[in-house]
Amino acid sequence: MLTLTMRQMSENQCGTITSVRAGGEMGRRIRDMGLIPGAEVKIQGKAPLNDPVALRVMGFTLTLRNNEADYIEVEVKE
């Protein structure tokens, strides 16, 4: 088991969110969309310029910028 920030994950990598370290509005927005500890995520792809990132959570696809993905820690299987 290995813990990474979401930015460090590579395409098609799966994992489980362990913490979301953002408060305030950004945190609320991230959580409203279902990015909460315990949620399984998979990196779907990255935009042509590597940023933002598209990820799959709870069966739908969501986009986040890399600097927002930094707040999210994910435990990945190697």
């Binding site: 950004m26 927005r29 990255k46 709870m58 739908f60 696809t61 986009t63």
Partner: protein, 736 residues
């Protein structure tokens, strides 16, 4: 039975499709009072019921994150609809129920329309609607909005529950610390009757814990000292949670809401027969459509394709329109008495409105194309791919929506575009976006460009239109960057956005969408433009030529006619169109026409508009604009399409030959002083100069100050003038 029901749900859950399915053509689009969020209303009539249906803006949550969320929440609280029909995407149940829970926490009567059951099925998701209904304690009706399936059953369920008294607010356990604080706050709030006339006490407490700005502000206004007391309780829990669990109250609340949902769905409500992360068709498409290399290439190709589609297929109907108004002008010419009335009807009304309505087919095709991109989900991918680029200019990926609505894909309108900036949360990015979206190629500028392009760049129509759009984009982005580094500096905001699965748009949706936008354009053309066209006609007609000058032209004509033999004069004055003239008579006729033309021209110069235009000519000559163009551009302040109708009016007043009813573009090509360079300089000026007054009013309102409205007028015109002077002068030096 009559009642009001509100449709609410996540964006992309099929809410608008269901709304269209329920109300059909019986809908009405307006705005929520005081704000510019679109309010769609309609009537459902069927199986003995009649419901007023309100389509609330699509939201993921009921926090005060975006204006849509605030509007939806305020509507529910203030208008108290008989029932909220919550459209829930069955293929995406858990996230959708997050909003449902928030309705229930507010104590609002909810009924779930479990939509997209067909999509869920193909994804291997099976949902037990009865079980879900039992566990949540609210009606759940499976629907497929696209085909209208379940519509009747849904309305039956609404009718069966609408008259019941409001349910008690749902109370979820948010964990020990928060529960204790909630209980304490709820007691205090009830004892004080703090905001309880509008909201349930526990909900107010919850919002304080979530640090909801709108509610906290409201509370501080209502009772500052009590609000303070509640805030101190919140602070205590926050500190405690931060010390013990390294988390925030709002994080705990969100976790527990999802926990609650999870607990429900686990009890046999949802069954997956396949793994959730399996690649679906939509994902496979994304692998190509948002691919690092292919994605951008396809994106440019799609946008180019939209132009081709619009211009190629609208050609014929545009031609029909032009012919119709040409014919109408001919009929008026032949049947109306009096020169002044004739001039008013032909030059003021028919040419003015016809010039604008002639572009309706073009705009319809354009909007149809945009609706396909929007409804299919491709537009969200465009935002995804472009966000990195937008951020460079101090904007947001979501700015792309405002830009596209304004005419980023030619044919939008800056007015809804400026309004679309409301989805942007950061005030600074929003301001930068709303000040730069008017540079886009809006539907009203389109006739101006189309006219000039058809006249001077006919061989490369699609390419030149694409270049115009690219110039608009580049200019807007650079100006945005300029603004974000000078007048509006600041940090960027989160880019949390859903990429909805690709969907085949429904024809009904596309047509309603296209029709709505086209109708808005026609309505504007029919009312505002008609009035302005007549005012401008008056400005161009009065004051008339002084007697002495008019007499001079009359004498010239008489002198010419007496200098030739009477037989030729007779030929010239009585000749029918079909009969050939002798070369000598032809020559005399041409000379007579030249005199008429000169008279009309000096009359126009003498008029109020002519005087304004002439006064400015000294300055605008630097950009290659003569006084006619100046009049047209001044008219364009009122609405951009007026540039075309004014040029039309100006030239048909200057041109008296009734046989020359050919299109305005032909007139321009033959007019002195016009060259491709002049046309290009005018195109540049039209892209950048002051937004029309409707847009200026919106900018002022959205930005919260008239200062910004005035800023956009002055600043944009200065930029426009500098650029077109640069283009014209450089072009002239290079010998174009």
């Amino acid at each position: 039975m009559e009642a009001t029901i509100a449709l609410a749900g996540n964006p992309n859950s099929g809410k608008t499709t269901l709304f269209n399915e329920l109300t059909g053509a019986r809908q009405h689009v307006g705005n929520y009072p005081g704000v510019t969020v679109e309010k769609k209303q309609g009537i459902y009539a069927g199986n003995g019921y009649k419901f007023q249906v309100i389509d609330l803006p699509g939201t993921y949550s009921l926090t005060a994150y975006s204006l849509e969320e605030v509007v939806a929440r305020d509507y529910l609280v203030n208008e108290k609809p008989g029932m909220v029909v919550n459209i829930v995407d069955a293929s995406n149940l858990e996230r959708n129920l997050y909003l449902t829970l928030q309705f229930m926490e507010m104590g609002i009567p909810v009924c779930i329309a479990l939509n997209m059951m067909d999509v869920a099925k193909t994804r291997g998701i099976e949902i037990n609607a009865e079980k879900l209904s039992d566990l949540l304690g609210i009606p759940v009706v499976p629907t497929v909005a696209r085909s209208g399936k379940g519509k009747k059953e849904l309305m039956e369920a609404v009718a069966g529950n609408v008259s019941r008294s409001a349910p008690a607010p749902l109370s979820i356990s948010y964990g020990g610390d928060i529960n204790t604080a909630l209980d304490e706050m709820e007691g205090d709030i009830n004892a004080q009757s703090f905001l309880t006339d509008r909201y349930p006490a526990r909900w107010v407490a919850l919002k304080y814990l979530e640090k909801d700005e709108q509610i906290v502000d409201l509370g501080q206004k209502e009772d500052p000292s009590f609000s303070q007391k509640i805030e101190s309780v919140v602070q205590k829990v926050s500190d405690h949670l931060s010390d013990t669990l390294d988390t925030y109250p709002e994080a705990m609340i969100a976790d527990q809401r999802y926990g609650y949902i999870h607990a429900i769905t686990k009890q046999g409500v949802i069954k997956h027969s396949r793994h959730q992360n399996r690649l679906r068709l939509s994902d496979k498409m994304d692998k190509v459509l948002t691919n690092r290399f292919l994605g951008p290439i396809i994106m440019v190709a799609v946008l180019m394709g939209l132009y081709r589609f619009t211009f190629t297929y609208s050609e014929m109907p545009v031609d029909w329109c032009e012919r119709f108004f040409g014919w109408l002008g001919g009929v008026a010419e032949a049947n109306l008495p009096g020169d002044l009335l004739k001039s008013l009807v032909i030059s003021g009304v028919i040419d003015g409105v016809g010039g604008v309505l002639g572009f309706v087919p073009l705009i319809m095709f354009m909007f149809f194309g945009i609706s396909i991109l929007e409804d299919s989900g491709y537009l969200a991918r465009v935002a995804f791919m472009l966000d990195r680029v937008f951020r460079i200019f101090g904007l947001h990926g979501s700015s792309v929506m405002a830009f596209i609505v304004s005419g980023g894909i030619a044919g939008g309108c800056a007015v809804p575009g400026v309004m679309a900036t409301r989805t942007l949360r950061s005030p600074k990015e929003r301001l930068a976006t709303l000040l730069t979206v008017p540079f886009m190629t809006c539907g009203a500028k389109l006739p101006v460009f189309a006219l000039l392009v058809a006249a001077f760049f006919a061989e490369n129509e699609a390419i030149v239109m694409l270049i115009i759009t690219l110039i608009a984009w580049l200019g807007a982005l650079l100006v945005a960057k300029l603004l974000r580094t000078t007048v509006i500096k600041g940090e960027s905001t989160p880019f949390v956005m859903e990429l909805p699965p690709y969907r085949l748009p429904t024809f009904k949706g596309l047509f309603i969408h296209t029709w709505e936008r086209t109708w808005q354009y026609i309505r504007k053309a029919g009312t505002v433009i008609l009035g302005i066209s007549i005012i401008l006609w008056a400005m161009m007609t009065y004051p008339g030529l002084p007697e002495s000058q008019a007499r001079r032209f009359e004498e010239k004509r008489a002198a010419l006619l007496t200098s030739v033999p009477p037989s030729i004069v007779n030929d010239v004055t009585s000749a029918g169109e079909d009969r050939g003239l002798s070369p000598r008579a032809e020559e005399i006729k041409d000379q007579l026409m030249t005199i008429d033309f000169q008279e009309a021209e000096s009359a126009l110069r003498h008029s109020l508009a002519g005087r304004i235009g002439t006064t400015l000519e000294g300055l605008t000559a630097l950009a290659g604009f003569d006084w006619r163009t100046n009049i047209a551009l001044v008219g364009g302040f009122a609405a951009k399409e007026v540039v075309v109708s004014t040029l039309g009016t100006a030239y048909s007043l200057g041109d008296v030959d009734p046989e020359e009813t050919g299109s305005l573009s032909k007139t321009l090509v033959n007019a002195p002083g016009w060259s491709p360079l002049t046309a290009f300089s005018l195109i540049i000026f039209t892209i950048f100069y002051a937004p029309c007054f409707v847009a200026v009013v919106c900018i002022a309102r959205e930005a919260g100050s008239w200062k910004w409205g005035a800023f956009s007028m002055v600043f944009n015109t200065i930029i426009a003038f500098s650029l077109s002077v640069a283009v014209y002068q450089a072009g002239s030096l290079l010998g174009y």
